[in-house]
């Protein structure tokens, strides 16, 4: 384990994972899958933070990742509660049906 990997490959991998998450958010209509794609985007950013933290030998990046995980857990708890509330009222979690504010 001597020969390192260029930071550019980590940048590429994170970019690809982030774009997959973004495309999922834009293309899918199932709210739960949209949530999962948001998690995917958060993880792409986490991966890059850890990579740069290793590159610079600075532990702050990994502490940021720790906080991002805490915020993601809070976000998922509240988000899924909202989703189950929507399901209770609309009997569906299709985002196309949530157009009450439009007209």
């Amino acid at each position: 384990m001597i020969n390192g990997i260029s930071i550019n490959y980590y940048l590429l991998l994170s970019a690809v994972l982030f774009i997959i998450g973004a495309v999922g958010v834009m293309a899918r209509r199932n709210s739960i899958i949209i949530f999962m794609c948001i998690e995917l985007m958060l993880n792409a950013v986490n991966l890059l933070l850890v990579a740069f933290s290793t590159l610079h030998g600075d532990a702050s990046g990994q502490v940021f990742v720790f906080f991002i995980m805490a915020v993601a857990a809070a976000e998922v708890a509240v988000g899924l509660a909202i989703l189950s509330m929507i399901y209770r009222n609309v009997k569906s979690i299709d985002t196309d049906l949530l157009s009450n504010l439009k007209n």
């Binding site: 384990m1 930071i7 495309v23 999922g24 995917l40 986490n46 857990a73």
Partner: protein
């Protein structure tokens, strides 16, 4: 092996698997399959953390994401009885626009990397910053205040989730 070191092989395989599983998260029609593929993606990302010698984050990542968040997702899917292909055929126009927009964003992000300096993560295997001891020291000295704020955030999220989720009391 073909001029690559073992680290580079592991990196390549983990990256390929992560991207494949991420694609399957987006394109599988059954939400339960999506959740399972997302768990596999998280394991691949945890492997990347181990490769960068961030052991604490690798363990926390598996425990928090695969152990807590994904179980919550599965629980909600089962609660709403969505474990079949409920999604109707969506229109092709929004999908096409989404893929084109994503492709253009990827083009910009990758294009901005062209001609940048190649910096190697050379401290592989020797880096000690990801160990529990070192991260604990940093977390409880330099980042003590944000750590406490995070605990308040989690408490607020818990109270909020219960308040949103409960039925109205008559």
């Amino acid at each position: 092996m073909l001029g690559y070191t073992i680290t580079q092989w592991i990196f390549g395989i983990l990256s390929f698997l992560a991207i494949m599983f991420a694609l399957m998260v987006v394109f599988s029609r059954n939400p339960v399959n999506s959740v399972l593929y997302l768990v596999m993606t998280f394991f691949c990302i945890a492997g990347h953390y181990l490769l960068m010698n961030a052991q604490f984050l690798a363990i926390v990542h598996i425990v928090v994401y695969a152990g807590a968040i994904m179980v919550l997702f599965l629980f909600v899917i089962m609660l709403m009885n969505l474990n079949h292909d409920t999604e109707p055929k969506s229109k092709w126009l929004p999908k096409t626009i989404a893929i084109i927009a994503g492709g253009m964003m990827l083009f910009v992000l990758v294009g901005s990397l062209k001609g940048t300096e190649q910096l190697n993560l050379s401290s592989y295997g020797a880096s000690q910053i990801g160990t529990v001891k070192n991260l604990g020291k940093v977390l409880f000295s330099e980042f003590l205040f944000p750590f406490e704020i995070a605990s308040i955030l989690l408490l607020a999220a818990m109270v909020g989730a219960i308040m949103i989720g409960k039925r109205e009391i008559k």
